[in-house]
């Protein structure tokens, strides 16, 4: 691998609507070098790559500060096409391939070699016909460069998942006659053997002078393949180090890290009864991106149980599966009785409640007023806020009660809004989250699932949401299950914390446990080298 830096990123900083996502991140990438970029979700990895690739989302939200230097010159891309022209290829996690096209057609999409014909003069250059042999020849050249055997004439739709991945990489190679290839979670959907072949192919590419940025949650793979590792946390560069100078444990520690101001949960012994309120056996949940393979756990009454773990390992799937929002299976016993998890209505009626992580998608009626948002679920399931007319024949919406409950929670959670009739869309992230919380509290549930309660909201709202949860648990003795990727938060509020890795629970720890122990569970004890 040559030592000449082909790419350098100097003091890159970026702000999204006020919260700082990247601050002064710098690293270099040499020719033919493989760089492993690792970090928690939301640590800024994808934003960094979007800046490199000139994605519109960056320019639309105010651009970035700092310099991107290629071959020693400062460049600034304001569209992906500039990046491609500069020789940068990007392979996203979800395939951007045309299923009905063959591998050749996909690899050479919009770069097809053409044959001239007279009509061009009349109707413009796109009347040229495709030169199929040349196309096939160039596709095979790109595939061989990868060193894998893909049939160039096979339709992508009929390809195994691994081959799709290789086709996309071949396309990026061909499209940008790439000198830098960025791979975002390439092995997430691959089987063991397919991942092996991919890593071997990437090494072969690197030898031929193509530099690679490899983003993955599978730290073991990153350690096997990368020459250098860059670790990001909360938008800051934690370390940029040669792989052979570090090991898995250290990397995890950097990734998870412990910010100074967090204190372990004050260990006043809360008398948590041993009665099991919820017990889950071999739960599987088919939630896109958050597959739960086989999870079993018990929750004791009055306890606050936390679920942590890296993104995409399945922790978010658990509550969505139990509440029946995604196809799921396995046995769930609530207060001893079997729960039919496909019927959301019955589960809520029995006393389960769920604050979804997808606030705008599932958690809110964006075009309806605040009071509706808060009272809706309770009204539908527990028939609250309804006036019974003609002996219950007609259930009339009691707007007064709805107004009052909304006013109560607006005061309690200090929701900043013009009136109870303001539509949810116009509120800030923090206030919207408070409304979702209020919606669940109105149900006064026996067990409350809360997913990513503090993601993407300002610090003040974060504090208030966590306080509210703690206080609600203390006052009503409601069992709370919190799913969050913020390990600090979990440690500051939960009685026990379970870590989910690859769709399974890899271990349950007390909040006071050491960070490395959490790190180990996150990466899956089986992978320890």
């Amino acid at each position: 691998m040559g030592q000449k830096p082909i790419l350098e990123m100097k003091e890159i900083s970026k702000e999204f609507y006020g919260n700082r996502v990247l601050n002064s991140v710098s690293f270099t990438l040499n020719e033919g070098q493989i760089l492993g970029l690792v970090g928690e979700n939301g640590a800024g990895k994808s934003t960094l790559m979007n800046i490199l690739f000139g994605m519109p989302v960056i320019t639309q939200t105010g651009g970035y500060s700092g310099d991107v230097i290629i071959d020693g010159q400062k460049v600034s891309f304001n569209s992906p096409f500039d990046a491609i022209a500069a020789g940068i290829g990007m392979v996203h996690q979800e395939f951007s391939l045309l299923p009905g096209f063959t591998a050749t057609e996909n690899i050479l999409l919009n770069k097809e070699p053409l044959k001239y014909n007279f009509l061009v003069e009349l109707f413009g250059s796109r009347m040229q016909t495709l030169d199929y042999e040349k196309m096939r020849h160039e596709a095979i050249k790109a595939i061989n460069k990868l060193g894998v055997n893909i049939d160039p004439d096979m339709l992508v739709a009929e390809m195994p998942v691994g081959h799709k991945q290789f086709t996309e990489i071949a396309r990026e190679l061909e499209r940008a006659n790439a000198r830098i290839i960025v791979l975002d979670e390439p092995t997430a959907v691959l089987t063991e053997s397919e991942a092996e072949i991919l890593l071997k192919a990437l090494k072969k590419l690197a030898k031929e002078g193509v530099s690679i940025i490899f983003i993955s949650h599978r730290l073991q793979e990153v350690l096997d393949i990368a020459d250098k590792i860059v670790v990001l946390r909360d938008g800051k560069l934690v370390s940029e180090i040669e792989t052979n100078k570090t090991n898995m444990k250290q990397v995890v520690e950097w990734m998870v890290g412990h910010s100074v101001d967090s204190k372990a949960k004050d260990s006043i012994k809360k008398n948590i009864s041993d009665e099991i309120i919820l017990s889950v056996k071999n739960l599987w949940v088919d939630m896109p991106g958050e597959l739960v393979r086989d999870v079993s756990f018990d929750v004791r009454k009055g306890e606050i149980l936390g679920f942590g773990g890296l993104a995409g390992q399945g922790k978010l799937g658990i509550p969505n599966g139990i509440m029946g929002l995604f196809p799921a299976g396995g046995e769930v016993f609530f207060e001893g009785k079997r729960l039919d998890i496909s019927d959301t209505h019955k589960s809520i009626k029995k006393g389960l409640a769920f604050v979804s992580e997808d606030r705008r998608g599932v958690g809110l009626l964006l075009e309806e007023p605040i009071d509706w948002n808060i009272s809706f679920t309770a009204m539908q399931v527990q028939e609250k806020f309804l006036k019974k007319l003609f002996k219950g024949l007609i259930k009339w919406r009691n707007d007064k009660e709805i107004e009052d409950i909304a006013k109560f929670y607006i005061k309690k959670f200090e929701i900043k809004c013009t009136s109870t009739k303001q539509i949810a869309q116009q509120l800030s992230g923090g206030n919207q989250q408070k409304i979702c919380l209020a919606k669940a509290f109105v149900l006064d549930p026996k067990i409350l699932f809360v997913s990513e309660p503090t993601r993407g909201i300002d610090v003040g709202a974060k504090k208030l949401v966590l306080e509210a949860l703690k206080e609600y648990n203390k006052e009503h003795g409601t069992t709370i299950v919190i799913i969050s990727s913020e390990l600090e938060e979990l440690r500051s509020i939960c009685d026990r914390i379970a870590i989910v890795d690859e769709g399974k629970i890899s271990g349950i720890l007390p909040p006071t446990a050491e960070l490395e122990e959490f790190g180990m569970l996150m990466v899956g004890s089986s992978k320890q080298n």
Binding site: S347, I348, G361, V362, L365, F376, M379, Q380, V381
Partner: protein, 361 residues
């Protein structure tokens, strides 16, 4: 200095008031509103009596209003514009014909027609709702062709079903229904004449019809205040939210389709009651589009509609359809009413379909 300061911001907040009036009302309504007022003003020039044209408009508004109201439930529940309204019309026609077959006249005839048509409408609506639930996303196109094919299917039934009443059956063949059946001797204007007032011999106001329309509006308004109604609005606004709150999305959508079909059936009967004829065979084929155009003109969008849109929309739309041809015919001595009807109704729908909704960025 001071005065022009405040008359500047006077001008500014007048401009401001005008601006958000335009935003609230939206351009199409303003253009057509001004056009309508212009037409009313031109009636004397076109040697037409203002009173007759006004009463014509009002009668037509009363006739069509319920058909426009029928669209509200499905739009609210997220099924989009109900191009399959003709399905409801068929149920209504079935009821009307059976009531004439049993020779029922007057109000009794009218309400029995409605009574008979409701079960049909519920059955059709239920099946139609189940179908729409399986094709989420492509509702509008499929609704159109389900409507067309059911109308043409019933053309065959009108021919074959054994109807006896002489008023309806073809003279010579003695079998199969005529294309238009007059409701003169049965229940024409039976509803509109109740407490109808007649000022001078030109102005006629069908109070009965408007009262019935007001009753149905109240029922729909009330429905959307009940628990089920609120759930339906939520399903339209964000199906995932509704599902997460334990509401069965498919049940709500089917219910909204059934209500829409029932209202469609009632709407067509009221239309026939005032129009005086039952048009069968391909009569109802294209009658869904004016109703859709009217509600869009009233300010409804593809996924939000309320009763206000129905009233404003029907008045503006029917106003234009009655006034424009008669005024222009008398001015230019040409009958352009057909062209007007097509351009305005289809133009409105086209305008709504090409708006940037979150669906098709």
């Amino acid at each position: 200095m001071k005065e022009n300061l405040n008359n500047i911001n006077e001008k500014r907040n007048f401009g401001q008031a005008l601006k958000n009036f335009i935003d609230v009302a939206g351009w199409p309504r303003i253009i057509i509103g001004i056009f309508l007022i212009l037409l009313f003003a031109m009636t004397p020039i076109a040697k037409l009596r203002l009173s007759t044209s006004l009463s014509d408009t009002l009668v037509r508004v009363g006739m069509n209003a319920i058909m426009v109201l029928a669209l509200v439930p499905m739009v609210q529940s997220g099924c989009g514009l109900n191009f399959g309204l003709p399905l409801g019309f068929i149920a209504g026609i079935l009821g009307a014909i059976l009531s004439i077959e049993f020779n029922l006249t007057g109000l009794k005839g009218l309400f029995s027609a409605i009574g008979i048509s409701i079960p049909f409408a519920v059955i059709f609506g239920y099946a139609y709702g189940q179908l729409l639930n399986r094709v989420k996303g492509d509702e509008m196109m499929i609704a159109t062709y389900v409507g067309f094919s059911s109308v043409s299917l019933f053309c065959i039934f009108w021919l074959l079903l054994p109807f006896k009443s002489p008023v309806m059956v073809w003279g010579y063949a003695g079998k199969g229904l005529r294309t238009t059946i007059s409701t003169q001797k049965f229940w024409q204007n039976s509803l509109s004449d109740i407490l109808s007032l007649r000022i001078g011999e030109t102005f006629y106001f069908p109070t009965g019809m408007f009262l019935f329309f007001a009753l149905l509006c109240f029922l729909i308004w009330a429905f959307f205040h009940t628990k089920v109604g609120t759930a339906m609005t939520a399903v339209g606004s964000n199906p995932d939210y509704a599902r997460a709150s334990g509401v069965s999305v498919d049940k709500m959508r089917t219910l909204s389709v059934v209500i829409s079909t029932v209202l469609g059936a009632i709407g067509i009967i009221i239309y026939q009651q005032s129009y005086g004829f039952i048009q069968i065979y391909n009569g109802p084929l294209y009658m869904g589009f004016p109703a859709v155009a009217a509600i869009l003109l009233g300010g409804a969008s593809v996924h939000k509609a309320n009763i206000g849109n129905v009233i404003i929309g029907t008045f503006l739309f029917q106003g234009i359809l009655t006034m424009a041809p008669s005024v222009i015919n008398s001015l230019l001595q040409t009958d352009m009413s057909e062209i007007f009807r097509i351009i305005i109704s289809m133009g409105m729908i086209l305008y709504a379909l090409t708006r940037k909704t979150k669906g098709n960025r």
